[in-house]
C-alpha cells in the first residue's frame, strides 16, 4: 500500500470501487435507455429499428455486461444496507461480500442462456 493514502485495499475498498464503477455505468445506460424508449412516441418503425440493433450478437454481449453490473450493484447494495443497519453488519462485511459474489456467479450462470442464447444461435446457425 502506498504511503499517505486513505485507501486500505482488500474486500472493503474493492467492493466500494466496484459499486461506484457499476453505478456510473448503469446510470449512463439508463439515460440512453429512456431516450430509446421515448422513440415509441415518434413511430413504431423508429422504435423497432433501434430495438433491432439491441438483438444483434454484439449488443447481447454488452447486455450480459449490463446484467453483470446491475446484479453486482443490487447484491452489494443490500450488503451495504446490512453493514449500515445490522448491528453485526460491520463484523461480517467480508463474509457478506463473498456471499454476494457467490450468489452473483450463480445468477450470471443462470443468465447465460436467456441473455446470450439467441446470439449464439445467430452466430453459429440454427
Amino acid at each position: 500500500m502506498p504511503a499517505g493514502t486513505l485507501y486500505r485495499g482488500r474486500e472493503g475498498m474493492w467492493s466500494w470501487v466496484a459499486h461506484r464503477v457499476t453505478g456510473v455505468l448503469i446510470f449512463f445506460f439508463l439515460f440512453v435507455h429512456v431516450l430509446d424508449t421515448a422513440l415509441v412516441r415518434v413511430s413504431p418503425e423508429a422504435y423497432d429499428d433501434v430495438v433491432a440493433t439491441y438483438k444483434t450478437p454484439l449488443v447481447a454481449c454488452l447486455e450480459y455486461g449490463l446484467v453483470a453490473a446491475i446484479l453486482f450493484h443490487a447484491l452489494n447494495g443490500l450488503r451495504v444496507i446490512a453493514v449500515d443497519f445490522w448491528s453485526k453488519g460491520p463484523r461480517y462485511q467480508k463474509q457478506m461480500l463473498w456471499t454476494v459474489l457467490a450468489v452473483w456467479i450463480v445468477l450470471m450462470v443462470g443468465a447465460l442462456y436467456p441473455v446470450l442464447g439467441h446470439a449464439v444461435r445467430e452466430v453459429f446457425g440454427s
Binding site: 461506484r20 453505478g23 456510473v24 448503469i26 446510470f27 439508463l30 439515460f31 429512456v34 431516450l35 424508449t37 421515448a38 415509441v40 412516441r41 413511430s43 413504431p44 422504435y47 423497432d48 430495438v51 439491441y54 438483438k55 447481447a60 447486455e63 446484467v67 446491475i70 443490487a74 447494495g77 443490500l78 451495504v80 444496507i81 449500515d84 443497519f85 443468465a111 436467456p114 441473455v115 442464447g117 439467441h118
Partner: protein, 159 residues
Amino acid sequence: MSAETSSAGVGPVEGVSLYDADNPAPVIEPPRKRTSKTPRTTRTNFELYGWLFMRLSGIVLVVLVLGHLIIQLVLDGGVSKIGFAFVAGRWASPFWQAWDLVMLWLAMLHGANGLRTVINDYAEKPKTRFWLKNLLYTATVFTVLLGTLVIFTFDPNIR
C-alpha cells in the same frame, strides 16, 4: 504553605477561585464565533436524507429492476420479443405504467445522487464541480420529464 493556599488553584468547585473582580479570568473566544455575516443556520440534514434515500430507494429498486430484467430479458423468448407491439401490450395496463413510472423516478434520482457524490469526490476545482453538477442536474431533469411524458402520453394507435 497552608492547605488553604494549595487548594486555591483547583478552581471554584474544589476550593477558592483564583479569580475575582480585581483579577478576572481570561476570556476564551468560542472557536466558531457568530458574526453579522454568519447565516442563521449553517447546516441542514440534506446529506442524511440523501444517505437514507439511497438505502430506501435501493431496496425498492432491487425488486423493480430485477423484475424488469426478468420480464424483458428472460421470459417469453428474452429480448427477441421486444418491439412496439410488446410495449403497447404492457402499457395497456395501469399496473405496468405505474411500475415503470416509479422505477424511472427512483432509478434516476438514485443514480443522480450517486453521480453527485462521485463528482464531489473527484472533481477538485470548484468550477469543474459546478459545471459537472449543472450538466448532471440538467440531464436528470430532462430524462425524468421525457420518460414521464412518454409513459403518460403513450398512444398505441400512433399511426
